[in-house]
Symmetry: C2
């Protein structure tokens, strides 16, 4: 293991993150000049955090400068894990400094606790969207911007990682990705990481710019709100600048625009490559895309039917009388928000009928497409697992008939089948362990009010980067009341789920560290 | 598909079941002669059921007599499914007739409903042990005997099916079984079904006789109670003749004897073959046996620790003060009862701490050994799945290192790995679907009082042949209050779980019925 090179790259990443922090600090400074006194504390916090990050990254880079560049599989995995674990610490720094510097809020503010700050930052970088804040509106605007920006960075990071970096290194994602892209050779991605990453960045920027304009001009929100929500929509992340999330706008236009971009964020970014090259047909025939869209249509239909005749409570607390229009409006938005693992809310779905909640939980498990910003098990894995199950049933009475499992025109080999099923089993085990850990930690170190539904849905919502869960972590609640140890477990679940388990879990195996 | 031959064999099975019914009817007649008036109704019910069964079986056999004998894979699977589905109907007949004939109980008796009778019979033949009866003590003794006897028959049937029949036919169980038996060639089972089945019957009879004597002479219960509880112990089934289950005896001796025989029932019966041949060493080295015993020891230890300092309520409702002795006594009994999927109760574990319940639920999922009377996913599958997960984690950073997964001295091939993981995923999906169905049916057709814990634990307890669950289907509760549609779903889950899914699920695939 070339640990020095890993640390050097980590230093570089810290410098980049600090520069982005510096940009937000600069914006905060501009606000301060325009006479926004609330920004005084936030500006200093952002500036100090940026400088500290630059310092730490620079020192790390300086100390390890003379290392021969060598990034093998294990180095890459360690770097990925450290990027998210250490990156979240840097991203949390402005929150913590803001409370502890002069001009900050009262010491009772949730950000007074370092664990809360780390939770919020990890929830940002992993695009989860779970918050420990009870009053989001009261946060200085620059901190809201940084909070949203962490999700945009995290979403871009994940897409670049899974579409550009890991396949080239032959780590984990590769085999799955090869299946995703319909016919990998003709529409295959650029061979070099840099070039692929650059194209992905352009796609991400174009989509972001389009959404900002749409939300601002058509949705008629403030430009600030349009920017912040775009950052957290395309990353299918879910942080909002409002306590009532998207429900605060009470605007059909905003909701429709956001639905569209949540759906776009959950699509395999490899398909945008194909689209750029005019391979419309192969995009349209992609089985994962079709299943992804189909699941959302069917899920929405069931949930809308469940809501028929039910009155709905919005996230602002306003009751809406039962009507077909309301059922469609709130049903479809919630379904898409959950299925894409975004986690924006317009209605308190915790009070919805059991069947509606069951469908939402099912969609949480499935998640979006591989190679997208969405979390969950991923549609392609569900698809492969489903086909394997069918072929195993047939094998019971026809053991000698070998029927190849296909995704599009690609045949799934035994290795990939096994990897897919192992992933499904593994993530379910993690979900169960996570639920149990939350339950126990809340009993031992918390206030003991956590029930099964809360524990299980907190575990799902963290592992699959959704954000809100049910019951006491539902749409109109937050995670602030949980004990610090529970929050740290949820942070670990977020990282495990976001990095598709392997980058984190290998760190716990002795063989990974053995030098050979 | 040679449907006629399947029906012929089914006719034969009905005749055999009817003869067993007749034996119980004869015993009931003897009781009647000894002046037990409560037996009058039960005697007639058993007799009429036996005669009806003989008639139906005889007619079926007569109509299909002239069929060429041909039992392929699909015929065998269909026969297995029909045996349990139709067999349960015949086994339910005495209960139903008893209520509806003169001298029977009031029409408010749970057995007044055909669905309740079918549920009780299916719970018997699948060795589940879930009951719809609220007052078990009040049942005529001959019906109690029949109820226990169905479980003994069901347990024997499952062992013969999975150890003798299916491996020879090359259906489902074979591949798994080959792994179980340590070194299949030397200690391999008898090549012919008949011979193997006969040896299994002897083993089953010897174990049964031993337990009857032990419970009767050492445990000092009545001979009737000793026989009934032996029938339901060795089958790891769990029906009792008492409302308070084994807790009714308040006897350490009875509990210890039953613990021993529950453990013996959950062992792969193939190992008893090896034992008979003096292959002590290979039995002792069997990885499944070691893991099975190890899990029970570790599970018991955790649960005993959880119970330290807690007062315990027995199934008779008596509170027991906190003491190390009580924690060990009730903790170990409950752990073994649940881990072997028996479901006897001495204490109301629904009131135990969360961690204790979580461990019990985990043990429910794992279950006993393959080729035993126990249910659950089976220790060997958990073992293989665990090893596959470990090797998949290593594959992330060492894609080219192929490390074979071994069980004992046998290497697990990719096909078996895939089948095992697919089974685990499939059974978890069935558990989730089952829980959802119970929840929805109770909302739509029931009284709407069913909560998540009840629905989920009813689904687990049925699928894994345990019997009691948690909350409203807990140790001191029963399933009588559920709606008929829910009970039918649970019957299906019992059959699915008992026959390891495939025999039932293939019936729902169109390809199974297509004639080729």
């Amino acid at each position: 293991m070339n640990l020095r090179y890993v640390l050097k790259q980590l230093g570089l990443l810290l410098v980049v993150l600090s520069l982005l922090l510096l940009a937000v600090a600069a914006w905060s400074g501009l606000q301060l000049l325009q006479d926004e006194p609330a920004e005084a504390g936030a500006f200093r916090a952002l500036l100090i955090a940026a400088v500290s990050g630059l310092g730490a990254g620079g020192i790390l880079w300086g100390l390890t400068r003379s290392t021969r560049p060598q990034l093998g599989r294990r180095e890459a995995l360690l770097l990925v894990a450290l990027t998210w674990l250490v990156g979240a610490a840097l991203a949390a720094l402005p929150y913590l400094l803001w409370v502890h510097l002069p001009d900050g809020p009262a010491a009772t503010h949730p950000f007074n606790s370092p664990v809360n700050c780390y939770f919020e930052a990890m929830s940002g970088l992993t695009t989860t969207g779970a918050t420990i804040l009870s009053d989001i509106d009261a946060l200085p605007r620059s901190l809201l911007l940084w909070r949203a920006f962490t999700q945009w960075i995290g979403g871009l990071g994940i897409v670049v990682l899974f579409v550009a970096v890991l396949p080239t290194l032959g780590v984990g994602g590769k085999r799955l990705f090869q299946v995703e892209a319909p016919g990998p050779s003709p529409e295959g991605l650029q061979p070099h990481i840099r070039q692929t990453a650059r194209v992905l960045l352009y796609i991400y920027l174009v989509l972001s710019a389009t959404q900002i304009l749409a939300v601002w001009l058509i949705g008629r929100t403030s430009l600030f709100d349009a920017v912040c929500h775009t950052f957290t929509t395309l990353a299918t992340a879910g942080f909002s600048t409002r306590n009532a999330s998207i429900g605060a706008y009470q605007s059909r236009a905003v909701e429709i625009i956001i639905i569209c971009f949540m759906v776009l964020g959950g699509v395999n970014f490899g398909l945008y490559f194909a689209l750029i090259r005019g391979k419309l047909k192969s995009v349209w025939r992609d089985p994962e895309l079709r299943t992804y869209l189909g699941l959302m249509v069917v899920g929405s239909a069931i949930i809308v039917l469940c809501l028929a005749g039910q009155s709905i409570t919005t996230t602002t607390g306003r009751p809406i009388d039962a009507s077909a229009g309301a059922a469609i409006r709130y049903g479809v938005f919630t379904t898409v928000s959950i299925a894409t693992t975004t986690g924006y809310c317009t209605a308190d779905f915790n009070t919805w009928p059991f069947l509606a909640k069951a469908v939402l939980i099912l969609l949480m498990f499935i998640g979006g497409s591989a190679g997208s910003t969405a979390g969950g098990i991923k549609v392609i894995r569900i698809w492969i697992a489903f086909k394997v199950m069918l072929s195993e049933i047939e094998r019971v009475f026809r053991p000698h008939v070998v029927r190849p499992v296909r995704v599009g025109s690609t045949t799934v080999d035994d290795e990939l089948k096994l990897a897919t099923l192992a992933y499904v089993v593994g993530i379910v085990i993690l979900f169960v362990l996570g639920s149990g850990a939350v339950m126990l930690l809340e009993q031992w170190t918390g206030d003991g009010t956590c029930d099964y539904t809360t524990a299980a849905s907190a575990s799902i919502a963290s592992l699959f980067t959704i954000g809100p869960g049910l019951a006491m972590v539902g749409a109109i609640e937050n995670y602030g009341w949980m004990s610090s140890s529970t929050k740290l477990v949820l942070c670990l679940l977020m990282a495990l789920g976001r990095l598709e388990v392997f980058a984190i879990i290998v760190l716990f195996t002795p063989r990974f560290w053995r030098g050979d």
